[in-house]
Amino acid sequence: MSTATTPVHTAPDGGRPHGPEGSGGRVSGGLFDPRQLVTSLPDAFRKLDPRIMAKSPVMFVVEIGSVLTTGLALLDPGDWFGWAITAWLWLTVVFANLAEAVAEGRGKAQADTLRKAKTDTVARRLTGSTEERVPGTELRIGDLAVCEAGDIIPGDGDVVEGVASVDESAITGESAPVIRESGGDRSAVTGGTKVLSDRIVIKITTRPGETFIDRMINLVEGAARQKTPNEIALNILLASLTIVFLLAVVTLQPFAIHAGAEQTMIVLTALLVCLIPTTIGALLSAIGIAGMDRLVQRNVLAMSGRAVEAAGDVSTLLLDKTGTITLGNRQAAEFVPVTGVSEAELADAAQLSSLADETPEGRSIVVLAKERYGLRARDEGELSHAEFVPFTAQTRMSGVDVDGTTVRKGAAGAIVAWVGRRGGEVSSDAQEKVDAISAAGGTPLLVAIEDTDGPRVLGVIHLKDVVKEGMRERFDELRRMGIKTVMITGDNPLTAKAIADEAGVDDFLAEATPEDKMALIKREQAGGKLVAMTGDGTNDAPALAQADVGVAMNTGTSAAKEAGNMVDLDSNPTKLIEIVEIGKQLLITRGALTTFSIANDVAKYFAIIPAMFGAVAGYEGLDTLNIMRLASAESAILAAVIFNALIIVALVPLALKGVRYRPMSADRMLRRNLGLYGLGGLIAPFIGIKLIDLLISLIPGIG
């Protein structure tokens, strides 16, 4: 998919860079390409259909106004002013449609590549032990299908037999194959992906037409888009503002007649269109589509817009420890020698014993020895006569025998037993150090040696979970945004607390069972909080369904993917934080443009009211309101209408990218956005209208 989508960009200011495991070269939160405006133009005209326009009450009013002025202009074809207003009113409507079309267009490109993946596949349906070839669309829930290397998987399902490597790049954009196997949490396969090796039997779990790819296509195209709760509420507010301004303009005519200054319908229509909140009305649906799109760009599929909005409201994040907060594996953090042994001596022995240990823990010991004590890994030659003892589950230790010296490292119990068997003794000092490390939440590994001095323990290696870089800052940010983080782990409370403290999460749930998770979510929700979590296993499914925002990992089971309301194709649990930010950004963009739109009206009044009445006998005082000193009545009204139309186009990139968002407290954010969009919205049109008026007045015969 990544190959066929819009040019690859990284967000310039659309948000933070991607998480630590970032999604590589995928399209990110959307730069705006002016060419899209041109390519989407036909769609924008198609949307002039009143049945489509009626969905946006504000723009529908503008369209009715445009029809009205067109009629009036036709009745008086010699009136250049009527034609100019008419043209710009139609442009206002087209610009609004254009914004929506551009937003949708970005999704369409992705949908097209997805459709390619959904080519009609032939399925090898298994009935009993007989295999028959049927079109993929004929598979029903519960059918079994066989796939071998080179086959396209015919539908969504779970692997019930076998193990295979699968190329899922069609949906994830990730080219490295993944392993899918029966049982466990990696059993789900997606229709349209390709089996690269081996043979698996799949049990179909979705009806044709409702598969994951089908839903993805619907989502990115915006076909399944429903208005979200806040969008509905905002629409109501905008509709009521439209009614207020309709009232103000309709009643103005009798007042004007009383003043002896009857207005033409064209001027009144122009005033109405300038006053009603067209800026936000035009961009509202584009903002919504672009918000969903920003998630898609980050490889997250939200099953509903409601979930995206809920993400902005989340006040508790449940994060799995492993993979989200810590790196997947424990690493050596420290060498603790027993009394009488130097650290360097211990480090040397530890390194020696780990040279052939290919586990991540073993490698981390070698790295620590090199970084902390400058011990370089010895060459093969130096140790050609060494005999390495690999780690086994039975011995629970590994080591090396070289030049009559035997070095072993391993779990405390195993090493103590080993030393004991060889007639040595383990000092109480070593035992104390082991206990201390355990108590601090770490994992102790004992290092023992047997040489001319006999068998003895040299010291302890302190293994611990390593918190990913930058996580503490992230959690601090979340705290400032008012979001509480809870770490979920299967570790014992002691270990959990140590990691929780180090990572800076607010709370933790240790020795967590799925039931515990569920209880925690319900407890938080009972207090009115919205909870977000990630999960992949079948036993996560109930909790994912219960959470307000449940992000299922694409690697997970189909039960988990069904239960959550988002799927992360990258299976990167850290992305939950980005999802929350996108949700917030969506709401902020709406609020900011609403504020901007309303604030704009002040300047338009100052342009249009003096133009209407400034020259009327007895009302000359109103010309004082013409503080912009616009050239003529016609140019003033036209300038306001043109500004009103152009500001829509000017704000399309902002609507699509979303306003700049950085985590900060509500107070600071409000101050910033009020200053930018409230105050800016007051001032900008004064400047814009003046400039447009200057240009218009240069046209001969107008100024």
Partner: protein, 561 residues
């Protein structure tokens, strides 16, 4: 002492007095509305009207109580006026005409006290005291009850129950309005306001001839006229009449009475929602608007250009010598920013901008600090709108006092803010279009080119603004005692009073059913100055945008000429 300094000192004294009673009165009212006990006289009343004051009402029941009680009030007051000729102590006045009786009944039940009659020439003691003065108490108590119901909607959760209308109504009268009125009336009487049931006296005048002087229970009606933000004067001259408002001190005292309950209710609100600072934020928004308007009003009245006006130390036409420009300006803003409508000077004679400020004050929806009760609920509705926009800008579903502002809440708040502009602009427009209503504009000399001109238009606009916002003050110069104006202003008053209450109570019911959202660092802090400022800005911009064209053709055209 210069008149300017005197005005500023009076303003300072007023603010000091209000600050002094803010806490005790606000806390006392909170206690009154949350008390479990019923006083003995209250129990008698409950027995009489057959109400169970301990039962809890959901919003439809509460609304039915409000509407039924008010309907009975309108009918009773209408009948009382229609049979006046047969009543004792009627001073020889006969029945009021049907359209004027309807207008007056609507006016007093809607807490507006628009008067198309002139008290001393048409209303006897019984109608004044048993009819009008009683409605002055109960219509104010109804407003306070609805405000308390809305506050309960914020304070309660997972219930639809908003309290008991009858208990709230009776308590408002018995425990709040009556005791304060007794104290207030004593002060007024001590300072020279009259209180008797005397007839009409013929009094000889220095310049020869004679004039009629009415007696009456003036002080007792005067005090509730201000305290309940009613505004209907015993005499046509209202608070400019020396029997109602004898001195500079009583003038200041009456302004104090107008403002004291609406401001103190913000404390009651803070108490009842369990967060005093939320109440202070609302108080701050109200206070800033009130003080700003007062300062502008004083400025424009003192410094209006023109040699004659400068010589008089400001625009003195239509103002009482004993009050002066400063106190008149404070009274004018206080009476139009609350839904009072009492006047101690004639708004029609104010400068163009001064008249515009009085108009704009009412157009804000009577919320700064507004009518008793209605000011608080009106301001809370604006707070909901402001929270909605600001809430989106901090990236969360907007919430106010722990309650989510979703589409249902926005729908109800939007309906609320649509009502008065529709009534004001709609009725004014129709009045300008029809053939005869413009004839009521008496002030046709203003502009030879355009007939009645901007000022005449302002008079009509003012009348409907005053009616629909339940203010009751008038821009003199409009003959409102015609069938058209009696009927339309009567309708504007009733619809402008009770339709908003429908939406307020529905909103209260919807809020009370919600479960509260806990506050986090991501929550918009509605008790901070930033939000209070945003609220003020939202109110001014939304009102300004709605009425800009109308204001431009009225007071602005006049003020800028």
């Amino acid at each position: 002492m210069s008149p300017e300094l005197a005005g500023v000192l009076q303003l300072a004294a007023l603010i000091g007095a209000l600050a002094l009673v803010y806490r005790p009165l606000g806390d006392y009212m909170a206690a009154v509305y949350s008390s479990e006990k019923h006083l003995r006289p209250e129990k008698w009343i409950y027995r009489c009207i057959g109400a169970n004051p301990s039962s809890q009402m959901r919003w439809p029941a509460y609304l039915r109580g409000v509407l039924a009680f008010s309907l009975v009030g309108v009918l009773f007051l209408y009948l009382l006026q229609r049979v006046q000729g047969s009543l004792p102590l009627s001073l020889g006045f006969t029945a009021i005409s049907p359209d004027q009786a309807f207008n007056t009944a609507a006016s007093f039940v809607a807490n507006t006290n628009w008067q198309s009659y002139s008290g001393e020439q048409s209303m006897g003691h019984v109608v004044q005291t048993a009819g009008l003065a009683v409605q002055n108490f109960v219509s104010a108590a109804v407003g306070m009850a609805v405000a308390v119901a809305l506050v309960r909607g914020f304070a309660r959760s997972r219930t639809g129950e908003l309290g008991n209308f009858w208990a709230d109504l009776v308590r408002g009268v018995v425990r709040v309005l009556l005791p304060l009125s007794v104290i207030g009336a004593l002060v007024l009487v001590a300072c020279g306001a009259i209180q008797n049931f005397a007839g009409i006296h013929e009094v000889g005048q220095l310049t020869g001839g004679s004039r009629q002087m009415n007696g009456g229970a003036v002080a007792s009606q005067e005090v509730i006229k201000e305290l309940g933000t009613n505004g209907g004067g015993y005499f046509n001259a209202n608070s400019a009449h020396p029997f109602e408002n004898p001195s500079g001190f009583t003038n200041l005292f009456e302004i104090f009475l107008i403002l004291v309950i609406p401001f103190a209710l913000t404390r009651t609100f803070g108490r009842l929602v369990g967060n005093l600072r939320q109440g202070y934020a609302i108080l701050a928004a109200m206070g800033v608007i009130w003080l700003g308007f007062t300062a502008l009003m004083m400025w424009t009245e003192f410094h209006h250009g023109g040699a004659a006006l400068q010589e008089a130390g400001g625009a003195m036409e239509g103002k009482e010598q004993r009050f002066g420009v400063g106190a008149s300006a404070i009274f004018a803003t206080s009476t139009t920013l609350t839904s009072t409508g009492a006047v101690d000077s004639f708004h029609s004679s104010f400068t163009g901008f001064g008249g515009g400020l009085a108009l704009l004050g009412m157009m804000l929806g009577e919320i700064a600090p507004g009518g008793v009760g209605s000011g608080l609920y009106g301001m809370l509705i604006m707070a909901i709108i402001a929270v909605f926009i600001a809430g989106l800008m901090v990236g969360r579903t907007p919430e106010y006092l722990g309650k989510k502002i979703g589409s249902r809440e926005i729908k109800l708040a939007a309906c609320y803010i649509l009502i008065t502009p529709t009534l004001v602009l709609g009725f004014t427009a129709v009045s300008m279009v029809l053939a005869t209503p413009p004839d009521s504009i008496l002030n046709t000399a203003g502009d030879s080119v355009n007939g009645s001109g901007a000022h005449g238009f302002s008079e009509v606009l003012y009348a409907f603004t005053s009616g629909a916002n339940n203010n009751g003050s008038a821009f003199a110069g409009l003959n409102a005692n015609t069938q058209w104006y009696n009927t339309t202003i009567g309708l504007a008053m009733l619809l402008g009073r009770f339709l908003p209450m429908v939406f307020v109570l529905a909103l209260a019911g919807s809020l009370a059913e919600q479960k509260p959202v806990p506050e986090t660092a991501g929550t918009l802090r509605t008790e901070k100055p930033l939000f209070a400022g945003l609220l003020v800005g939202a109110i001014l911009i939304i009102t300004g945008l709605t009425y800009f064209p109308a204001l431009a053709l009225g007071p602005m055209a006049e003020g800028l000429s």
